[in-house]
Amino acid sequence: MKSLRSILLPMGASLLAMIIGGILVAALGYNPVTVYGSLISGAFGNGINIGNTITASLPLIIVGLGIAISFQSGLFNIGADGQYWIGATAAVWFGYHFNSLPGWLHMIVCIVVGMVAGALWAGIIPGLTKAYVGSHEVITTMMMSYIGILLARYLIEGGPMQQKGFNPQSPEIVQNTQFPYFTQGLMQSQLSLVAVAIAVVAVIAVWFLLYKTTLGYQLRTVGLNQRAARYAGINVKLFTVVALCLSGLFAGLAGAVQMLGVDHRLLDGFSSNYGYTAIVVSLLARNNPIGVIIAGLFFGALTTGGQNMQMVSNVPAALTDVLTGLIIFFVACERIIPQIIGWYRRRRTLKSTTVAS
C-alpha cells in the first residue's frame, strides 16, 4: 500500500502539472497535443535524442543521490548547485594541469578531486556550524552555494583560471581526461559509457550504503529521530557532518563527470540549476536511490524535450520549468490527500447517521 502510494503520488503530481501546463498553452492558442508530442519526440524520438536525454539526466541522478542522502539523514541540502560547480571547478583545474600523469590516472584524479571539493564545500562550513552551533543548513548551504558560484565565476573572469584572450572561460581539459563518446551507431550524442557507468555505480553504492551498512543505518536513524539516535549512542554531531559531506561529495562528482564528459571547460553562465532540479528528483523518488534513476530520466527528458518543443512548435522551453515548479508544489502538498479522504469519510458517516436517525 505504502509503496504503491509512493509511485502513484509522484505520477499523479506530474500528470496534474502536465494538465495545467496543457491548459496554459491551449489558452495561449497552441495545440497541447502537438506541444507535448514535440516534447516527447524531442526526448525519445530517435537514438540521438535518447542519448541526449540520458546525458542530461546523469548530473541530475548523481546530484539527486547526494540530496537523497541528506534528506534521509534529516538534513536539507539546498546548496548542491554550488557544490556541483566547486566540484566542476576543481576537476577542470586538475584536468588541464598535471599533464604528465597517465591518461586513466589523470581522469581518476580529476573525478576524486571533484568529489572531495564538493564534500568539503558542504561538510566544512554548513556541516560544522550545523553540528556545533545549530545554524540552519538550509540557509548555510544556500549561502555557500552562492559563494561557490561566485568563486568559480571569479576564477574565470579575470581570475587565475581564465584563458587569456577569450571570453570568460577556462582552458580546455586535456584530451586524456575527456570521456570517450559513442562515435557510431544509434546513440551518436554526447553520451559516454564512462559517465553512465559512474552513475550506475553511484546509484548502487548509495543504495548499499543506505540500506546495507551500519553507517547508512545510523544516518537514517539520525534522520528519523535525533533524540532516539542520541540515546542509542550515535554521535549525532559527527553524522551531521558526515551526511552533508556525502551529500556534497555526489554533487561534486556530478560536476566532475559533467566537465569530463560534456563541457570540458568552465564556461560563463553557471545557470545549470542541477542542484535545484536534483532536489525535485530526490523528492519525486522518495529519496530512494533506484527511484532517483527514474525521476532523473524524467527531468532529463523534460530538458531535452523542451528544447525540441521550442524549435518545433515555437512554445518557449521555459514551459518545462513551469511544469517542474508545479510538480514540486503538488508533491509537497501530498498531505492534502489523507485530509480529503478524511473529509469524505466524515461526510459519509455524517450522512449515514442522519439517515439512520
Binding site: 545554524s135 581570475g159 521555459a318 498531505r335
Partner: protein, 306 residues
C-alpha cells in the same frame, strides 16, 4: 576618495530597495512562523506583471497594482500549502521559485516574443523632494530617486512600528514564537499566518516591481538575479526585524555599489558580491551578533491536533 562621493551613497540606497522590501516581507512571514524562501520567485512575478500591465494599461501605477495582486496571490498559494496542508515550507518555496522563473520567461516569450518587452512601457516617476534636494551632499543622494525609494523609507518605519508597537504586531510575533499559547489566548493562528505570508508577498512584489518599472521599464528573464536570496540573508542578518533588515540591505547594497565602482580598478565584483552571503553565515554561526530565528519558524501548526 570614493566614500566621500555622494553618488555611491545614492547607488547604495537605490540598490538597497529591492533587498530591503522583500527582506521586510520575509520578516513578516517568518515572524508569524512560516519560512519564506519564495521571495525570489514572488519578486519575479511582481516584476513581470508590473511591466505587462503597465504596458497594457499605459499606467505604471496600475502595473504596480497588478504586481501587488499577483505577488499576493502567489504568496497566498504558499500560505495555503504551508498553513492548511502543513507541507514542507522550504520545498514549497523552492517550487514557487522554479515555477515563477519558468512562468515569467514563458509568458515573456509568448506574449512579447523573443525580443523582450516593448521599449515604450511606462515606468514609475523619479522624483526629488523639494527642500531635501537643496541640502548639500544629502541632496545629491536623494536627487532623482525612484518614488519607490521614498515609499520604501516610509514602509521601513511603518513596518517596524507595526511589528513591535501594535497589537496585531504583537499577535504576529506570539504566533511565530509559541502558536499553542497564542491559540489558547483566542488568537486565530492560521489567520495571522495567512496575513503574514501574504504581506510578505506584497512586499516582495513591490521589490520586484521596483526593478522592472522603477529603475528600468522592461523585464528580462531572471532579472531579480538572486536578490530574493540576498533579501533572505538580509532578513537573517537583520535579526528578523524591519529596521535590521533595512540596515542589512544598506550594507549589502553598498557592497554591490562598491563592486560597480571598483570594477574598473581591478578588484573583482564577484568577490565583493560574496560579502552578503559570508556575513550571513558568520551571523548564523554567532560570530557577528547572534541570529536566532523565531521559535516556531517553519513548524506547521495544526489546531485540531492540540
Amino acid at each position: 576618495m570614493i566614500f566621500s562621493d555622494p553618488e555611491i551613497w545614492a547607488a547604495t540606497l537605490s540598490m538597497a530597495v529591492p533587498l530591503a522590501l522583500p527582506a521586510i516581507g520575509g520578516t513578516f512571514s517568518e515572524r508569524t512562523g512560516v519560512v519564506n524562501i519564495a521571495m525570489e520567485g514572488i519578486m519575479l512575478i511582481g516584476a513581470f506583471f508590473a511591466v505587462t500591465f503597465s504596458y497594457w494599461t499605459g499606467s505604471a501605477w496600475l502595473g504596480l497594482l497588478a504586481a501587488l495582486i499577483c505577488g499576493g496571490l502567489t504568496a497566498a498559494a504558499l500560505a495555503w500549502g504551508a498553513i492548511r496542508v502543513s507541507a514542507d515550507q522550504t520545498v514549497l518555496g523552492m517550487g514557487i521559485n522554479i515555477f515563477a522563473a519558468g512562468l515569467t520567461t514563458f509568458l515573456l516569450n509568448t506574449l512579447f516574443g523573443f525580443n523582450g518587452t516593448p521599449i515604450n512601457t511606462p515606468k514609475l516617476p523619479d522624483i526629488s523632494i523639494p527642500g531635501l534636494d537643496k541640502i548639500p551632499y544629502i541632496g545629491v543622494i536623494f536627487q532623482n530617486q525612484s518614488i519607490l525609494v521614498y515609499i520604501m523609507v516610509v514602509l521601513v518605519i511603518i513596518s517596524h512600528w507595526f511589528l513591535f508597537h501594535t497589537r496585531l504586531g504583537l499577535r504576529m510575533r506570539s504566533v511565530g514564537e509559541h502558536p499553542l499559547a497564542a491559540d489558547t489566548l483566542g488568537i486565530n493562528v492560521w489567520r495571522i499566518r495567512y496575513f503574514g505570508v501574504i504581506l510578505s508577498g506584497l512586499f516582495s512584489a513591490l521589490g520586484g516591481a521596483y526593478l522592472s518599472i522603477g529603475v528600468l521599464n522592461g523585464f528580462t528573464p531572471n532579472m531579480t538575479n538572486g536578490r530574493g536570496y540576498i533579501a533572505l540573508a538580509a532578513m537573517i542578518f537583520g535579526k528578523w526585524t524591519p529596521l535590521g533588515s533595512f540596515g542589512a540591505a544598506l550594507i549589502f547594497g553598498f557592497s554591490t555599489a562598491l563592486g560597480i565602482v571598483l570594477q574598473g580598478q581591478g578588484i573583482s565584483s564577484n568577490l565583493l558580491q560574496m560579502i552578503p552571503y559570508a556575513l550571513t553565515i558568520l551571523a548564523l554561526a554567532g560570530l557577528v551578533g547572534r541570529a536566532v530565528a523565531p521559535a516556531a519558524d517553519g513548524i506547521p501548526y495544526d489546531p485540531r491536533r492540540s
